[in-house]
């Protein structure tokens, strides 16, 4: 067992995959120069081991980073493109949505696009409106794309490895505020985490909370508090946004009869809606209470702490909503 941060675990996974498969390479801004730089240690040392053909420091050219990854994937390699955060990834949506996601289908299956694009999401203190966005739901909307959102170091490692081995284009969304989170990693184990498989973090019988990325941690805190108030909560970390693990959520809600979906991003148009609608549609007659959702109000992220706080879904809010669901129940 090794103790590792989320950023270290993901870097470790990239190195493992690069050792395993010579076709795997990475491209992005500052990849070979950011030795030890605080926010960028996801690549520390990789240039030394793999050289500049496989760790490619790019100009500030987001469209071409993404476009080049698509071209390189079509041409027989397995690129990992790093756009740093989705806010910069917005400069390269076209290449991802119009090209990466469509090429296999449009061309009648003649080509595959086995690329991974890293675009971190999430609130980080004081990063304001253009460095905090979470658009996992946008990509879930695009046929052809896989979307993963790991919440722990082990899942970061296991899901990156699975994403690199996946023949579909995968949008790999780390959470900026989790990069420093520590966890145990069994380096003797391959540690692969299957795409599309949720993880039950805590078993319960009264209420199911479904969350992903940073909100799984906040939901676990809320579940502790709910337990003190005699509500037994099951917490499911979705881990993959698309394809999401319907079976796991259905099985849990069939047992508890109550579902609360918690997301960090703006609720309107968010992925929580998809889960809520699907479960409501399939389990309507078995539910003890209407399906509930929590997410951010439809406002940009403000800079000052008092403004930023309005965007955060805190554990207290989840507890309140969980209690409301239990009290509002028909049985």
């Amino acid at each position: 067992m090794a103790r590792m941060t989320y950023a270290d675990a993901v870097r470790h996974a990239l190195a493992e995959e690069m050792r395993r498969d010579k076709r795997v390479w990475a491209l992005g801004e500052d990849l070979s120069t950011a030795h030890g730089n605080s926010s960028a240690n996801q690549y520390t040392g990789l240039i030394d081991e793999f050289g500049s053909k496989r760790i490619v420091n790019t100009p500030i050219s987001e469209s071409t980073i993404m476009g080049a990854a698509v071209g390189a994937a079509v041409a027989g390699t397995r690129p990992v493109a790093d756009l740093r955060m989705i806010d910069f990834g917005l400069c390269a949506i076209d290449e991802l949505v119009n090209q990466a996601a469509k090429i296999r289908y449009m061309f009648g299956g003649q080509a595959r696009v086995p690329l991974v694009v890293r675009e971190a999401i999430g609130l980080k203190a004081g990063m304001a409106a253009q460095h905090t966005q979470s658009y996992e739901a946008w990509f879930a909307h695009v046929p052809g794309l896989v979307v993963v959102t790991p919440a722990t170091p082990a899942d970061g490692r296991g899901l990156l490895k699975a994403s690199i081995r996946c023949d579909d284009p995968v949008v790999f969304m780390e959470h900026k505020d989790l990069w420093g989170l520590e966890g145990d990693i069994d380096l003797d184990d391959e540690g692969l985490v299957p795409i599309g498989k949720a993880k039950t973090l805590r078993a319960g019988i009264d209420l199911t909370i479904v969350a992903w990325s940073r909100m799984t941690h906040v939901s676990m805190l809320a579940a502790d508090e709910l337990a003190k108030q005699n509500v037994s909560t099951e917490v499911i970390d979705l881990r993959t946004i698309y394809p999401w693990d319907q079976q796991a959520v259905l099985a849990s809600v069939e047992k508890t009869g109550r579902l609360l979906v918690v997301q960090e991003s703006v609720l309107a148009g968010g992925f929580a809606n998809e889960i809520a609608a699907e479960i409501a549609q399939q389990l309507h007659w078995k539910l003890h209470a209407p399906v509930a959702r929590l997410g951010a109000p439809r406002i940009p992220v403000g800079y000052a702490p008092a403004l930023e706080a309005e965007h955060r879904v805190e554990a207290a809010k989840i507890v309140q909503e969980g209690l409301r669901l239990v009290k509002a129940s028909k049985t």
Binding site: D30, N37, I60, A128, A129, I299, G302
Partner: protein, 328 residues
């Protein structure tokens, strides 16, 4: 012997000092944990903002980038309000909504720092179209980093500005680095002047550590742009003394580089030598520095004492139709 230029150079000296003192204090307040988010300092680059903006009018438009404190101060933004913005307090330039990376003061034509590089270049083109449409007497200046010229939208903006002969001055503030990357390692060709020239945009190099040179060259190019001769590009070479962000361990460069710059190229010392060589006393220069230190001291103290913005403000200025509602 008094030089007729002394008043003008003293004003440049004062502005550079204001920027330097502001930026160095940013580092101090960052270390203390008083700045909530991150901040990019422009220490060492003061001559570029100061020299260029010295040729602008308050009514001219300025689009900045992520390293925008100097641009804002030179354009006349209020340092008291800027400190409140950095600390995320009520009364900040943006009411605490933006922070360092989104400092803006539309009342002085400072149309915003920016978290996304190169977007200022394309917006400058649009602002110039608007000026033409409205028949106004203004020009637009966009400050762009050396690393940013490799983004496609920058080339698109150059081409477009030339096609329509728009009143835009592109200023490339070349501080050698882009984050942790030496820009020259990821840039093909003969540099940004050659690129602009290829688009037919007249472009010129200037020593961005010599505020008098920047101001003089800016006088010419700004006059050309104002006279509707079309876009111009100014490539000012300088150096980033501090980290990319205020908290940056800087493993990617040799400290000797910084020392060398401070000894041989640092712009404020250079300007001060000009002043003292041309009849200004050392104590007159010191007085300016002291006045500015006192101003920044007061601005920081006042900002630290200011309250947080009301949480309800988070829900204002989002949109008119479908405006969000505060539930408390």
């Amino acid at each position: 012997m008094p030089n007729p230029d002394t008043e003008r150079i003293l004003a440049l000296y004062r502005t550079m000092h204001l920027i330097r003192t502001f930026e160095e204090r940013v580092g101090v307040e960052m270390q203390k944990g008083n700045i909530y988010g991150s901040a990019h300092q422009s220490t060492g680059q003061e001559a570029v903002a100061t020299g260029v903006v010295s040729q602008l009018r308050k009514t001219d438009y300025l689009f900045s980038n992520h390293r925008g404190h100097g641009h804002a101060l030179a354009k006349g933004a209020n340092p008291f309000a800027m400190w409140k913005e950095l600390f995320g307090r009520a009364g900040g330039t943006c009411g605490g909504k933006g922070g360092s990376m989104h400092i803006a003061d539309f009342s002085v034509g400072m149309l915003g720092a920016n978290g996304i590089v190169a977007d200022g270049a394309t917006m400058a083109v649009g602002a110039a179209q608007a000026i033409r449409l409205l028949g106004e007497d203004r020009i637009v200046v966009a400050f762009i980093g050396d690393g940013t010229i490799n983004r496609g939208p920058f080339s698109e903006a150059l081409n477009w500005a030339k096609v329509y002969e728009l009143p835009v001055l592109f200023v490339i503030e070349d501080n050698v680095y882009a984050s942790t990357t030496l820009t020259k390692t990821v840039m093909a060709g003969q540099g940004v002047v050659a690129r602009a020239t290829a688009f037919g945009v007249p472009a010129i190099n200037v020593d961005g550590n010599d505020v008098i040179a920047v101001s003089d060259v800016a006088a010419t190019v700004v006059a050309d742009v104002r006279a509707s001769k079309g876009p111009r590009l100014l490539h000012a070479t300088t150096y980033r003394v501090r980290g990319h962000l205020a908290l940056d361990k800087m493993f990617y460069r040799d400290k000797k580089e910084i020392d060398d710059f401070m000894v041989h190229h640092e712009p404020i010392g250079k300007c001060r030598r000009w002043l003292t060589d041309h009849g200004t006393s050392a104590s007159a220069c010191d007085t300016i520095a002291n006045e500015i230190s006192a101003t920044i001291e007061r601005a920081v103290a006042e900002a630290l004492a200011a309250p947080q913005p009301d949480a309800r403000l988070a829900y204002t200025d989002v949109q008119d139709r479908g405006a969000p509602v505060w539930h408390g």
